[in-house]
Subunit: 345 residues, 4 copies
């Protein structure tokens, strides 16, 4: 950490700063410039000390040097984390596709969709059982029943399953029925939930808060990792900007940046990231080209009648299948492997 | 709601749109322009229908006319809501000040601060017992014990108390010990929590999500109101923008806008809204001038040693008292009443 | 255009609105709902009328239906615009690469870079002669001399040239020496400049303002088109968001969105869009996969000593060449053709 | 400036960094921590060196310590700048009000408005002669004729005048007819214009770019100051955020922040800052309470028929007069003086 003293800070204030630092058992390196003086701190700095220093007389700024996350950082874990679930490897050479409806609506619906997801070549079935709704008068999901329907559809069609868990008390039931637990964008800093997921024993897909920085995102991942769960995937799903034509602005730079800062797999969600069906296809391809390890894509056999009103961003099954066929060409052009069942590899 | 058909949409697509609308028992008013055709819907429109229409052939856009919130809207409740708690009226002529530390740290700390808060002329003691922390290695609060300490300090010094509740399971205990329950910015769309607060029987101060629009904010309030709790205060606490010099950008236009759209009291939080002590004083005054019904301000007797590291935005007790003295002059200049104890009114 | 009257607007106010509309020679279609009344306007609506209506008693909102740009819109020009310059076609099947330094520094520098740009397979040489600098004490460019150096280098190596023009008075000289004129992000709404470019007779690459919406971007293009110049390319170069890790957030959704709204070619600038060299490669690939018609990429033979301090986002010549080789694989996977000279096609 | 070397950077890379620094005649202070090494630079650092260092092996980050603006900074100019124009002092104790129409439309219009502006107690008449319009088909202003009309109205009614200058070639004519020259939000980084204004000899009101940081704003002011013109006022006029209910988000924290960072007067523009007439009154009051030295407010005798379509944000003359009356009470409550003519002081 570095403390910057303002222009013409008197020597006694500099000394006071140095004393506070040394009282904490840390070393202070003082560099005097023509205008300002810089005091470098060497050692493990508590956030509280940083704030204390920031308020001392003469202090103009305090600059953090080390990242506040450690376990999520590539600094201390240079090789990629590859998460293996029943033979599917996420974070390695293979491109992983997760497809399915916004919400599980019925056993027949999820079974039919699972069949199409599998036929197209995806490895994971997605579907929401508990729905967070922004208005109090909307459809709220099928709950545990939906969870069971999805588990059965996944098993029948040979697909892993992923579902969103919204509160700590539902973690156990989701662990029982799903292969991957998803944290939604509004819960990225629901610390009770993150803590619970740290000990849940199943892989977690953590969505970036729609207004969260990379640093905050990685700190949220740190919560889960710190609890003892090493299997966290980071998911870019669009951020809020001044542009309102798209539902969100899918920040694809997040993919190479997160790969640089962290060893965790990075997934892209072009459905929520754009909110418009016609943009899902190009933005899926762009995500793959940017280096995504996987995609999570909404697909619905009858999007016009989806119960959540999110159908507008769901692909039709044929679009989904065509897109995955296109990825067979694209993935190898960026060093990933991907094969739909129609291809003999 | 209005459906806009694209340039040169064929008549058969227009007819299909009209049929879907009428099948739902609604009236469709068709206006044909030179380029585009507009279809107005009269009646109660389900969100699902809107989405269905948006996906139909020929539809370029669907524009919502009615607001999705009703109970929070001034349209159907023209007079101000005034929330009365043990003789303190929030939302009327009186300016209400809530002051106190970010976190309750000890019985002595909260007692000393309460004495200063009261002496300065504030009506409400604020303090957090359960702390949401953005990093997993930070101080997490004093919990129920802290809640009890604050209740005792409030009672002893004749102050109402307000505290943040972070999960549905803590609502009951907070209701037992606090006069007002606060929902933090990261929980504005924690719908389980909002539902629980709708039946909790105590007034709620709802903080705006740091990246939420006015519309989303009022829909979140609607959740609580729809549960049967009419006593909701809206709190502007700063939004995230490209400007990072301040912790957030305190959006003071929110105060007159929310007063226009809604009948609920509007509170301003200049401490979180700026993140810097030296800005709290001018932004408190600006909030009052913009029409705020109340302020929630961090104050600490020893901010340099506050346990949350948020001391940097806490006023010293003397600053807090001076500020409240200044408000005695300012409040009447904008039609509010406010008196510190030193004044004989 | 649609006028929305507020809840319980009295009939006389509705009538006054209708009269104003009809006085302008337009038709007003009134649809009465349970809460609100909607008045649709058919005909060519002046912006002034919209504002007048917005201020009338009872009016809650005025919603624009038609787009304010016409010439830039795909509605009235369904086929793609392909801009042909000396055998290079921009906006068609071919992927076009523009490479070169931020600033032309010397004849030797631009000649050496041009040789590398050509050898790598790019078609256009980029380079700035007049530099807009955000601080008053920075390097301001080599001016007309630099322009001439770049023209010579382009001619010698068989490359088209593109350069930024910053004020109307420099348009003529830039037209004389460059094949494509570029409008920088800070000039997107410099209307004097846009008007001048409308009659300049050379193709224009218009960069999106770093805080401009798609609608504003297309209205800026309309200015040039309305002047009589049909050869406008739209260039996404990153927008300003709350995320400051990257210099800007490259909004790749802009590529398919602009293709949908407009017939003009869409170029991507991953150098300014990210501000970091190590992100340029993945974001170039992502841009191609999202459907970009071309790329504009900074490359420098000695980026560490570039005079603008923008070297940090410039590729080294070998990186640039390797990237273009990779695009030979990637481009056909998304339906574009691209060949570096090493390939016999 | 500080260079931060990444985790486990080898000693040879540290040495190479130190050599580069010392080659520039600067001192390098090396502080070795457990994870990272910090190298402090003492002396005057060129931006080019910063960029060079940023690209060297082992460098994780380069942190600027000094501000890049000097003349605009309070560090080297602790007392407030007060700009005196014909007896009106801007930046001192007096609150200064600038009022008038968006555009000068006719001699009669500006004369009538000037009379009302004066009668209400304002000191400055505002009005645009050259209009920047975001669409190519809009009203473009009355030009030099308008400028003359405004000068005459100002002189007749004893008001200073302020008008926007949009290009360097119009600076001279504006200097001839106006007392204060205004730089619009889209021109904040039009460096040719800023340079010209540096030698124009008249005070300049510089509007903040609608997506510019405080740092960029002060660097733009530095351009004018560096040219030799010390009389610059900073004007907050709203920034672009995700919230689109208001035209912009008026960032009132800018007022105390700019006062802290700089000695220049700070003006607020609640008309453009909100874009809605009904918000202008509360946001004017809030600006004064936040410490603004002056206000620039749109007022029109016939806003419904204003030629720019900006009438929706213009006050009616009576509203303007009532607002100024209210400021007589408010200004002294925050330490400013302000009197309308009706008051005997």
């Amino acid at each position: 950490m570095i403390v910057i003293a303002g222009v013409q800070t008197p020597e006694e204030h500099i000394q006071a700063i140095v004393e506070v630092i040394e009282k904490e058992g840390l070393q202070a390196h003082v560099s005097r410039g023509s205008d300002r003086t810089i005091i470098g701190l060497i050692g493990n700095v508590e956030p509280k000390l940083a704030e204390h220093l920031r308020q001392m007389k003469g202090v103009e700024n305090v600059v953090k040097i080390s990242k506040s996350y450690k376990l999520a950082s590539r600094d201390f874990h240079p090789e990629n984390t590859v998460i293996s679930i029943k033979g599917v490897n996420i974070g390695g050479d293979e491109l992983v596709i997760m497809g399915g409806p916004c919400a599980v609506e019925s056993a027949a619906q999820i079974d039919e969709i699972a069949a199409r997801v599998k036929a197209a070549g995806a490895q994971v079935l997605r579907g929401g059982a508990f729905k967070p709704r922004t208005g109090p008068y909307s459809f709220q999901g099928t709950g545990v029943e939906g969870l069971i329907m999805m588990a059965e559809a996944g098993q029948k069609h040979g697909l892993l399953t992923i579902t969103e868990v919204m509160t700590p008390e539902y973690v156990d039931i989701c662990v029982e029925y799903a292969d991957i637990l998803q944290v939604g964008t509004r819960n990225m800093q629901n610390f009770d939930l993150l803590r619970k997921l740290g000990t849940c024993g199943k892989p977690v897909l953590l969505k970036r808060g729609f207004s969260s920085t990379y640093d905050e995102f990685l700190n949220a991942a740190e919560y889960i990792l710190a609890g003892g769960n090493p299997n966290v995937m980071l998911c870019e799903r669009g951020i809020r900007t001044f542009e309102s034509y798209t539902r969100n602005t899918l920040d694809l730079s997040a993919i190479p940046v997160l790969h640089q800062l962290s060893h965790l797999p990075v997934i892209s969600d072009p459905s929520h990231g754009t909110g418009r069906r016609e943009l899902v296809v190009p933005m899926t391809k762009a995500s793959v080209a940017a280096g995504a390890d996987g995609l999570i894509i909404e697909m619905h056999t009858d999007p016009d009648n989806s119960m959540t009103g999110d159908g507008v961003q769901s692909l039709f099954p044929d679009q989904f299948a065509d897109l995955l066929k296109d990825l067979e060409l694209l993935a190898p052009a960026v060093g990933k492997t991907f094969h739909t069942p129609g291809i003999v590899s």
